[in-house]
């Protein structure tokens, strides 16, 4: 007779080895990795007209705008950038024609003061398509199991260290985002997960919507992606923690 215990035992341990080991292809499918211009400047030049969101210019590729639609592929872009593409500075999301291919690493940001132990995260949806919400929730499933790294999701901003915002802020949600930010006790950090809160993503330029989360609150970490894969969000949270995320060492 089947039992829950038997079922659990049959499947064994399914949890990801990330960040102790690099993310696998199963965890990060093709377009979850940031694009890199394989043909350098020629790719940028050919890509300008193909990009529907204006992420490609003659000089650089803005990962903070890229929605990973892959239309630039014929111009010579490949989705092989590092999973660890999140950054503390918006400008660092703009890469030139010599962008490094992944899986690379990236030194840890200087740790934000005040989070020496476990980290509590509060999720706010400022106007998302629900994909980012579900990717954040996926961190709680046994395959990612964020609790093994001391990362917990709380249901109140007053218990949280980190505000994780997904979606492009709508004027209807802007006051709620602001109130959630104010309710977080100091020290606090804000993660903008996905291109929507960074630049508006696919909805950039829609009249009536905010241009990005930075118009509302200061942002500490930007996570590119549409949506970012769970390991990329995990990486960004670890980054807030100031934990080194080099492949092969934690």
């Amino acid at each position: 007779m089947p039992t829950w215990i038997g079922q659990a035992a049959r499947n064994g341990i399914v949890t990801s080895r990330y960040p102790a080991e690099p993310a696998t292809d199963a965890e990060v499918p093709e377009t979850a990795r940031p694009p890199i211009p394989l043909r350098g400047d020629a790719a940028l030049h050919d890509g300008v007209a193909r990009c529907p969101v204006g992420a490609i210019s003659e000089e650089e590729l803005d990962r903070g705008k890229c929605i990973r639609c892959a239309r630039c592929r014929p111009a010579g872009f490949e989705f092989r950038g590092p999973v660890e593409a999140s950054t503390g500075r918006r400008a660092e999301l703009r890469v030139g024609s010599a962008a490094p291919a992944g899986p690379g690493l990236v030194e840890a940001l200087p740790p934000l003061v005040g989070f020496p132990r476990s980290l509590h995260v509060f999720l706010v949806d400022a106007g998302s398509c629900n994909a980012c919400n579900l990717e954040v929730l996926a961190l709680a499933n046994p395959l990612y199991d964020s609790q093994r790294l001391g990362i917990f999701f709380t249901s109140s901003p007053r218990h949280a260290d980190v505000l994780l915002v997904v979606g492009i802020p709508t004027p209807e949600m802007a006051p709620a985002v602001l109130r959630a930010y104010e309710a977080l006790p100091a020290p606090k950090a804000v993660i903008a997960a996905g291109v929507c809160p960074i630049s508006g993503g696919a909805f950039a330029g829609t009249p009536g919507l905010l241009a990005g989360l930075e118009e509302l609150v200061p942002v500490d970490v930007f996570v590119p992606g549409c949506p970012p894969a769970p390991v990329e969000i995990l990486d960004a949270i670890l980054r807030v923690h100031g934990r080194a995320r080099t492949a092969g060492g934690d």
Binding site: Q7, P29, T31, D125, G127, A138
Partner: protein, 439 residues
């Protein structure tokens, strides 16, 4: 305690009160036929209607910046200790932004009113004037977990409006993507119900199963949420024989795992007790308010777009209708579970009979006279209608009625006389998505 009931005499509207697409009757009649089972007028799928060059501006559904009260008139229930409890728009219980105003005296939900519009990204208005393919990028991001259904419906409507011939292989790819995503969504609903019922081992195992479906989608289409999968030039590679073998193998393992989990859930008294008789919807109510999808099928109405308005490849495949009669959260979950099983079967048939010619849509549409196309697709949560007018390869106006828009009043009505702990079972069992309601 006195209660002011909403008027029961409003005229019957197949799309649900206040959520009707702003069809003027003369526009709509030619596109409708009466369904023999329900007596409901039904939109035909994928027909092309020539329209005058001058597009009537009155048709465009205007989005008011104010938030929308979506369950019809609020019941004002007064009495000792009764107050309005605001829940949302930011809460962890419902991981999306939307608000509920609950009239209660502390435990029982006397009435509940969803307030929507917090996440309005003005998608439909912003698409007007854009090329069809650029509009598609926003449409598939309208509701991420229903992206395949939205993209398929939008493209079918836009293509028939613009007079674009779609190769058969492309239609098969769209159906394949939709069935994969249907399985994901139904399994996700089961996981959320298990979570709400504190079935922790079951919830963890089921979430892992849902994640496996995202990974299957990622490996086949290059994107976990199928963004770009249905669009020309998107991430999808050609599905060759090796891909199909691999997909078949993974789907087999997935379905075996699902069967084991579902059997365990059916044997769990605590789980079944918790969802049985929770948030019931009566058949008459479902028809009057225009319920769709598993919500409608769970109260005894035989309605599935894949059977009623069949398109390629569904008209060549065997599909059994899932139907229940109790109308509660359990009935909705039973319908979903059988749909998961029938989707595995559909996918198996598709992989067996995959068309030789993978024909892809690559060339842009030739400029043709303005036309209007209607399409309806069975999304995981139910019937999804798109109405697109296009001219010169650009969208000139667009209307949409999503499953969650049709079903949310039933959720609000079903929860009356429920208790607070019913809330999550009710919400998850309808498969409602605010992103789709707010658009």
């Amino acid at each position: 305690m006195s209660a002011v009931r909403p008027s029961e005499t409003e005229p019957f509207d197949p799309y649900g009160p206040e959520r009707a697409l702003a069809y003027s009757p003369e526009d709509a009649t030619f596109a409708l036929f009466n369904d023999y089972a329900t007596g409901r007028p039904v939109l035909r799928h994928g027909i092309r209607i020539p329209v005058p060059t001058e597009v009537r501006a009155t048709w465009q559904r205007s989005r008011t910046p104010e938030l929308t009260r979506s369950a019809g008139p609020m019941e004002t229930i007064e009495g000792y200790g009764i107050f309005t409890f605001p829940y949302g728009p930011v809460s962890m219980g419902v991981p999306e932004s939307g608000k509920f105003e609950v009239r209660t005296y502390g435990e029982r939900i006397l009435s509940l009113e969803p307030v929507t519009g917090f996440k309005s990204r003005r998608i439909l208005t912003s698409i007007a004037g854009q090329p069809i393919s650029d509009g598609a990028l926003r449409i598939e991001r309208l509701a991420g977990n229903f992206s395949a259904a939205h993209a398929a419906a939008y493209l079918a409507a836009a293509e028939s409006a613009a007079g674009i011939e779609v190769p058969e292989g492309e239609l098969w790819v769209r159906a394949l993507a939709q069935e994969l995503q249907r399985i994901y969504n139904h399994v996700h609903v089961l996981a959320r119900l298990a979570e709400a019922a504190s079935q922790n081992v079951g919830a963890a195992q089921t979430h892992a199963l849902a994640e496996e479906m995202l990974r299957i989608q990622g490996s086949i289409f290059g994107h976990r949420w199928l963004f770009g999968a249905l669009l020309p030039g998107g991430p999808r590679r050609h599905l060759d024989a090796a891909d199909r073998r691999d997909l078949g193998r993974r789907l087999n393992l997935h379905s075996e795992q699902f069967e084991r989990l579902w059997e365990l859930f059916l044997g769990s008294r605590t789980f079944i007790d918790r969802i049985q008789a929770t948030c019931p919807v009566r058949r008459e109510e479902a028809l009057r308010w225009g319920a769709v999808g598993p919500t409608l099928r769970a109260c005894g109405v035989a309605w599935d777009d894949r059977l009623r308005v069949p398109v390629t490849p569904y008209n060549d495949l065997f599909l059994e209708l899932s139907q229940e009669s109790a109308g509660d959260a359990l009935a909705r979950m039973l319908v979903r579970a059988r749909e998961v099983q029938s989707s595995y079967l559909l996918l198996e048939q598709m992989l067996d009979r995959w068309p030789r010619d993978p024909g892809r849509l690559l060339s842009p549409a030739p400029p043709v006279a303005p036309g209007r196309g209607l399409a309806r697709v069975e999304s995981p949560s139910g019937d999804l209608v798109y109405d697109v007018t296009a001219s010169d390869g650009r969208v000139t106006r667009i209307g949409m009625r999503a499953a969650s828009q049709a079903n949310i009043p039933l959720f609000a009505r079903g929860l009356r006389n429920g208790v607070f702990t019913d809330f999550h079972f009710a919400w998850e069992s309808f498969g409602l998505v605010f992103a789709e309601i707010d658009a």
